[in-house]
């Protein structure tokens, strides 16, 4: 394994915060008191919370060590399907940290927040151009909240038509947030199977689309990495029955400059700025999940909205049909700043980003053909779904392959999703991986597959290099210990 990045090295243990420190220590500078203390009614005063006291260097070491136990995009290739783990440019973080952005109060008068409002306004226009949709709200705080917003728009639309509808079509390949968001909004998700080619067939939709169905939640490209080629026909069927088409655009990284979502018949679309638009994932957020709609649905968008009048920007809540407010303020502004910076840095080259994302995925697919089973052997878009089918004889599973990849120094792909592929291994390289890096990943997979045949225990015991080995998740869930 000489040439692969994975190696053994020194890492440093670190206790839990409250196993360290001493009362009386404080790792933060407190301002000098310059006003008199005012005694407080004893009845209101509580106990001092039992937080440990640490010096500044103790805090710094603690979190420095913790950070070193993590693997990020900056550590190496992170082909986590459906997550678009592309490079997160450092300049964008720096821009979001500019004083004027990072320390701006959200309730500043419009006069004192022109820059932020303008940025939001322009980002909305940019996303509209990129998707081909008409109007955008940046408010949803992540993809799932974007979905919720979208579902509420479907709800509001049907209510406005005087006919609330109960059901929504959700394909079996959908991400878990789709049915969950639909349900949160009171819709009953109705499943539909993808066809033999891994994509939806108009026939299947026609069969279940009815007057009590609010619409469909389609993911395009879908979670098999396949373009929903019948999207227009499907949209027509849904529209023909009075429904609306919601598109989960988490996979937009395949389509920039290539696909026009509006023309596909999509009425509502959400994007993940923390995927397609390069904002860092932060170990699980914060993200941002803007929604884009056609002109006729614009009136339902969440409030407040940024409006432009001449060259002045302001916030308006004056949209009586709006689904309302989704966020304490306007959404993840700092994330928007990073996405805006990314889009301007790329400009029309966003198309080339999608080109290369798709090229990389197809290349992985071509090179791993015969090594891993390919769920649907057709041209894929930005990601490609394999499985452990060919390895079953050696009793090695997707999980084992994933864990073994860690020893090789790669982040594993997404596993066991989408659910329609048993033992799925979902690889999304993204466009920022070079051919060399991808070749190395391919070699790693090949080597692991060989190990699976020759010495499956190597995979079963993996990972061995990491600070902790496989964790007992069963007992974690059976006897939950959630605080210390």
């Amino acid at each position: 394994m000489k040439d692969f990045p994975g190696a053994n090295g020194l890492v440093l243990n670190e206790r839990l915060l409250w196993e360290k420190g001493k009362p009386g220590r404080c790792g933060m500078s407190l301002p000098e008191a310059d006003v008199d203390p005012v005694p407080m009614d004893e009845n209101l005063v509580g106990e001092i919370p039992d937080w440990p006291g640490l010096s500044e260097v103790e805090v710094v070491r603690h979190f420095t060590r913790l950070s070193q136990w993590n693997y990020g995009v900056d550590s190496g290739m992170y082909p986590l399907g459906s997550c678009t783990m592309k490079y997160n440019p450092k300049i964008n973080d720096q821009i979001a940290a500019l004083n004027g952005f990072a320390h701006a109060h959200p309730l500043l008068p419009a006069l004192l927040s022109q820059g932020a409002l303008r940025l939001m306004h322009e980002l909305g226009l940019l996303l509209a151009e990129i998707t081909g949709m008409d109007a955008v709200s940046l408010q949803p705080a992540a993809g799932a909240q974007g979905e919720l917003a979208g579902m509420l728009i479907l709800f509001a639309y049907h209510r406005s038509m005087g006919k609330p509808r109960k059901k929504i079509i959700v394909p079996d390949t959908a991400h878990g947030t789709n049915p969950a968001s639909a349900a949160l909004c009171g819709f009953k998700p109705v499943g539909v199977k993808s066809g033999p080619l891994g994509i939806l067939t108009p026939e299947a939709i026609a069969q279940i689309m009815d007057e009590d169905t609010a619409g469909i939640m389609v993911t395009n490209p879908n979670t098999l990495g396949l373009f929903e080629e019948h999207i227009q026909d499907i949209s027509e069927i849904v529209h023909g029955n009075g429904g609306l088409v919601y598109c989960d655009g988490a996979n937009m990284n395949a389509l920039m400059g290539r696909g026009h979502v509006g023309k596909m018949g999509v009425d509502v679309l959400h994007l993940n700025l923390h995927k397609t638009f390069s904002t860092p994932h932060g170990g699980g957020g914060p993200g941002a999940g803007p929604i884009c709609v056609t002109q006729s649905l614009e009136r339902f968008l969440p409030v407040p909205r940024v409006v432009k009048d001449g060259d002045r920007y302001s916030l308006s809540t004056d949209y009586p049909d709006s689904i309302g407010r989704l966020h304490g303020f306007y959404g993840s502004f700092a994330v928007m700043v990073k996405a805006y910076a990314y889009i301007l840095s790329m400009g029309p080259l966003l198309k080339q980003a999608s080109n290369l994302a798709v090229l990389n995925a197809n290349y992985v697919k071509a090179r791993l053909k015969g090594v891993l089973d390919i769920a649907y052997d057709r041209p894929c878009m930005h990601e490609c779904v394999f499985s452990d089918k060919l390895q079953r004889s050696s009793k090695v599973t997707t999980l084992d392959i994933a864990k073994r990849l860690i020893d090789y120094g790669f982040h594993p792909p997404t596993i066991y999703f989408p659910l329609v592929v048993s033992g799925a291994i979902m690889v999304e390289p993204t466009e920022t991986e070079s051919k060399e890096e991808i070749d190395l990943f391919i070699e790693a997979i090949k080597s692991i597959v060989k190990e699976a045949e020759e010495d499956p225990e190597k995979l079963k015991q993996a990972p061995r290099r990491t600070k902790v080995r496989r964790l007992d998740e069963t007992s974690a869930a059976r006897n939950p210990c959630l605080t210390g």
């Binding site: 006003v35 699980g284 290369l356």
Partner: protein, 443 residues
């Protein structure tokens, strides 16, 4: 382009391996009518240096930074953030990793979030906390939904002294569910009037905020008793968790769910987002809890380790039956809060909280002496409402020109509070800042 590593050669070789002649061919499956015609009509590509300048120009228009003295709170608080946090949080092992689905290479995030869950629980006096939600507003919505699941009642009572935006978000979340939201008025001392619920049954939750939107400290104990009498859970919302460095915490007063905004703990204000949705409750309710949870466990060798747990509540397992649709949460903000809480420690927290209150009390007194009487009589923490002399709004505009933002006019939120302003003074406001405000107001 520096983000795109492919050389022409690379592309040619890769196309060959795929068996395609050009990049266009890779998109052949997109029906012509679904394609984007022509190139994207967007500006750029900008160089790093053009971008930086563009962004700086936008940022400089903002009423933020050292030149401005901003007495705004109302859900977003200006607190000092140690340089250590900015540095540590910027380490790319924290920023560029995904949700810790592979625990063996995510122990850093996992342990930090576990620490966050613990310290937040200790602060709020609750048994458990989740790994974060989006913000204080959606945390309230999730708390109300959880209450409905737990109690199987379909009405919730929400205080009108709860942040108007939080209430609006809760309404948005609840609008399509058919659950009823009953609003509880506030009384003359600025606290929630709970008489509406006493004796009534069928509430899933009674939700109040403390300190509330007016900065007033609610009587949580009484609210708990009354709520529990009606069979409802007490949901305590908050926008300023620092207050619990000084005040009795929700748990000790009997709250069932404590949820709110954690931005005060080391998260930059950033024009309102991202925030940090804190959600804490009792262990009994864990399976109804929304959002991710990190739990402690052991690895194959018996060593301590951490992992996401109880995922069967979540959308990726339970799909439409999940306790919430949330997936990506605000993890990095939770880690920031862990760093902040670790830096401050218990004693530091108490000192800082006391200082916040002392500053606000000073400002309150000085404003009173300038004719701005407190609108409510209940005790407050670091913000409070004053009744301004009529016509003050002109002076308010004049103060803006002097780079002073003299609080939030409340008329837009509560028409009955015309001429009332909500002012906040944290540790970032010096006596000199406050004296300058009062001097300007007087002049």
């Amino acid at each position: 382009m520096r983000y795109l590593p492919h050389t022409e050669d690379d592309i040619a070789l890769m196309l060959e391996a795929i068996g395609a002649t050009d990049l266009d061919e890779l998109f052949a499956m997109i029906p012509p009518q679904c394609r984007k015609d022509g190139e994207l009509r967007i500006p750029g590509p900008l160089t790093e240096w053009e971008l930086e300048r563009t962004a700086q120009e936008l940022a400089e228009t903002m009423g933020a930074g050292r030149d401005y003295v901003v007495f705004l709170g109302a859900g977003s608080y200006e607190h000092f953030i140690p340089a250590t946090i900015r540095y540590l949080l910027g380490r790319s092992e924290f920023t560029t990793s995904y949700t810790p689905y592979q625990p063996e290479i995510s122990q850093g995030t996992l342990q930090a979030v576990y620490e966050y869950q613990t310290l937040v629980s200790r602060l709020l006096g609750m048994e458990i906390a989740n790994a974060s939600l989006y913000d204080g507003a959606s945390a309230l919505a999730e708390a109300l939904l959880a209450s409905v699941r737990i109690t199987r009642h379909d009405r919730v009572a929400v205080s009108q002294a709860l942040h108007p935006h939080y209430r609006q978000v809760a309404e948005t979340y609840l609008q399509s569910t058919g659950f009823e939201v009953v609003e509880l008025p506030f009384d003359g001392d600025g606290r929630t009037d709970l008489s509406r619920i006493s004796g009534e049954k069928g509430f899933a939750a009674v939700a109040i905020q403390s300190p509330n939107f007016f900065g007033c400290i609610e009587d949580l104990q009484r609210a708990a008793n009354l709520s529990h009498d009606t069979g409802a859970l007490l949901v305590v919302s908050f926008s300023e968790p620092l207050a619990y460095g000084l005040l009795k915490n929700p748990g000790s007063c009997g709250a069932d769910i404590a949820c709110g905004e954690g931005q005060s703990f080391g998260v930059p204000q950033s024009f309102g987002g991202p925030g940090l949705g804190i959600f804490a409750t009792r262990m009994a309710h864990v399976r109804n809890m929304p959002g991710r949870l990190v739990g402690r466990t052991r690895d194959l060798d018996g060593n301590r380790g951490f992992t996401l747990t109880l995922a069967t509540r979540e959308q990726h397992i339970r799909r439409e039956k999940a306790t919430s649709n949330i997936c990506t949460n605000n993890s990095l903000c939770a880690v920031a809060a862990a760093m902040y809480m670790a830096s401050l420690g218990g004693n530091g927290l108490r000192s800082l909280a006391s200082m916040n209150r002392d500053k606000a009390e000073y400002l309150k007194r000085e404003l009173a002496s300038a004719g701005f009487s407190p609108r409510f009589s209940a005790p407050t923490f670091n913000e409070f409402v004053v009744q301004a002399p009529s016509g003050f709004h002109q002076a308010y505009e004049r103060l803006l020109e002097k780079k002073i933002v003299a609080g939030l006019p409340l008329a837009g939120y509560y028409p009955e509070l015309d001429d009332c302003y909500l002012l906040c003074a944290t540790e970032t406001k010096s006596k000199a800042d406050m004296d300058a405000l009062v001097r300007e107001i007087r002049s």
